[in-house]
Subunit: 153 residues, 2 copies
């Protein structure tokens, strides 16, 4: 059985999942703590999607960590296909949320003479969008590594 | 050699490419004709991406049409890999542009008491965003069909 680094049940895969969890949690925290995010649809969308990504990545991080410890990576095609499709859908949703947030922040920054967006809040929105993009990037990487492994099963 | 309907060089693939060309052209036209789209970054992004998608889809539609006529689909792994990667990158970019446009239109609609967005213009922006989403959907379909064919070569 050949190992693809970064796929399900490897230590690189564990690192990818951990990075996704950290970045999406950071995005959620920066967006939601003390900020009235619910006044814009795009921000609510980002919070919803991050609320989906965090449990997904955290669960798979636990699976990866356990597989590394017992040295027995899960190699059932059904499980792997589920993981690939889930990663896939979530990566599209994360990209959509990150792009929406970015363009809303851009609009708010341009209209700052109307005091839509105090500088401190806008910086937090921007950081949340950047974190969401990083989470998307790691999610696509996970998905590609698992997809690469799939035909060899 | 097995045929995957919708992959490169089949009549279903030709229909997919034609749909992509039509939808992305419609999106470009609705966004750019008589509209001051360059005042928002997201709209400029959409126009740029549609300007990339149209020649790509049109070229591949020509290739598909020619292959169907001469009954000899291109089956070199290198060509197919290039097409899959190109479809992939363009579908991500199309999704990003469509989401950005949608959220900007949403913001403009909410602020319509400030007359940012006359109803006629806003409808055109919305139609452009919907066309971009349809083009993205067909692009993902093309990419998946070609990816499905790739390991069998």
């Amino acid at each position: 059985m050949d190992e693809v680094p970064g796929s399900l049940g490897t230590s690189a895969g564990f690192a990818l999942r951990l990075g996704q969890t950290v970045f999406s949690s950071a995005s959620l925290l920066f967006m939601s703590l003390g900020v009235e995010f619910y006044s814009y649809t795009a921000f609510c969308f980002l919070v919803t999607i991050m609320g989906l990504v965090i449990p997904w990545s955290f669960t798979l991080a636990l699976v990866d960590g356990y597989s590394v410890l017992v040295k027995c990576p899960p190699r059932q095609p059904g499980i792997l296909l589920t993981v690939v499709v889930g990663d896939w859908v979530l990566s599209f949703l994360t990209l959509a949320a990150a792009c929406s947030t970015t363009s809303v922040v851009d609009i708010l920054l341009k209209a700052n003479n109307r005091s839509f967006c105090p500088p401190k809040l806008c910086t937090r929105y921007q950081v949340a969008a950047v974190m969401a993009f990083l989470s998307w990037f790691l999610s696509v990487a996970s998905s590609l590594f698992n997809l690469w492994l799939l035909p060899s099963l």
